[in-house]
Symmetry: C2
Amino acid sequence: MTYPPLALTLGDPAGIGPELTVSAWETLRLSEHCFFWLGDPALLNNVIPTEIISTPLEARRVFPHALPVLPLLCTVPVVPGQPNAQNAQTIISSIQQATQLTLSQDASGVVTNPIAKHILAESGFPHPGHTEFLAELCSAPGHEIMMLASPELRVVPVTIHVSLQTAITTLTTQRIVDVARITHHALIRDFGIQSPRLAIAGLNPHAGEAGLMGHEEQTIITPAINILRAQGINAQGPYPPDTMFSATARTRYDAAICMYHDQGLIPLKTLDMAQGVNITLGLPIVRTSPDHGTAFDIARALDHSPRAADARSLIAAIRTASTMVQHRKENAV
Amino acid sequence: MTYPPLALTLGDPAGIGPELTVSAWETLRLSEHCFFWLGDPALLNNVIPTEIISTPLEARRVFPHALPVLPLLCTVPVVPGQPNAQNAQTIISSIQQATQLTLSQDASGVVTNPIAKHILAESGFPHPGHTEFLAELCSAPGHEIMMLASPELRVVPVTIHVSLQTAITTLTTQRIVDVARITHHALIRDFGIQSPRLAIAGLNPHAGEAGLMGHEEQTIITPAINILRAQGINAQGPYPPDTMFSATARTRYDAAICMYHDQGLIPLKTLDMAQGVNITLGLPIVRTSPDHGTAFDIARALDHSPRAADARSLIAAIRTASTMVQHRKENAV
């Protein structure tokens, strides 16, 4: 059984997105993980065969011998390493079209190439990043949550891009319950895990050591765990944050619910910088992205010399999205 | 050139300390890493040869064929797994004597077996833990700082056993400068690193992203880095906490100065739970300990069946202390 292809966005054309796209197609073209690119074919400098498509339906036929491209032309010429806000609209259109095609089921999921928020902000883009923009496009603002996944670990931070102080003061029982519930259901539907095991982190050193080093475990986190368990969700904790990511501890859960950004991202990136995938849960669509930025410092015009940018994270993002789509369809049957 | 032996403390006799001590002697007895034990020989049940010594001077002669023991008898019989506050004074005496013997240069450093703070607290012990007690015994209260070291990473948290909220509100430029300076000098004197490279972590996600997610990088941390550099210390940062512990990033520094407990301990324990060593810097004496607790749940009476407790962290602590002593003596010449 085949599914519609994945939609891969342009990302910032002055970053490494075009190079990553080429590498991903080279690696995946003979696999089942079919995608098409919403981008400007001129950026690829003919280093791989491309074929313009007019509808995602054509992608699977094209994919083994050429990168299927749904063309979106840049407004001004692209200089690698030098982002230009005049191309912001093309970047944004790529995200919009990928999302629309997925909502209409012409594509089966969205994989986004990296963008630079400050470049889009210059052109009036009001969203902190991809994730919030996608949530709005899906009419689900505020429902989005971020999972980071690598071969060894899945983490879901309860708070994301706020100061550590704000992370502490905005932590609530309700937010933990919401994030854990969405994660639980996503592990079943999108990851094929029938009985997900969630590990809930503490906030403080040693998970507060019975209140000696902070009270949030007692007042906020344990009440959330109790609510989750009463709903039949296998949530354990709160665990001391420093020991819960060891090799042994990691085998005991399917995802760690983390109280702040770095509590989840430090162990993930310490273990594996190359293959981390950013997954947005809580939206009606499947969406993944590589776990890194535009890397303007190493971006360069494509030619036939060996690729310099490490495409493993984008490739992992495409494979993960494809697998999620497959699980979701199987679970829907 | 040989140095005085290391003094290994009793720790809580109802924990795994006695078993770890036996394993450490078995592993190290033919090495240069000589130690004697300040404990109760009855606890060892004759599973290894022991020899009572009356002074540390005898330890090096004894060490290859028997564990040298400076005897300290428990007050009440020890039941493995069931700590008893009536033995607290023996536990405390062991730490006191080890420290005194090191201050008098009869021993070259202190390695502590794990204690249970709540058991000592029951008997009126007023210190939060070993480290603070040792600082007082050395007449250096408040000067102690904690380094955690594994084969892959050294971390020094600026704040330790306080809530995350307190860690944020008590963070000061002066404290970062003090901790980084002590670390810098210890890396030279005790670790033999001529030109130490310090990586200073940010506090907030993405190191605050120019103030968008927190201001402490701008108001507290960067000023500390500037002061350190003006003093000739190679301090770089503030680095985004999630990426600074990756395999590549770790090669670029000798120690990471971390803003709170879990920022340093999460990456260290994620990489290596077995061989982490806790090192107290800022004291006149060398002191290390294993990076785990008493493990009352797996403690048992010693017999000739295979050892169950993992002694790698204690063995690493002894080796580390021994190497620190050697560097310190060489640097003092």
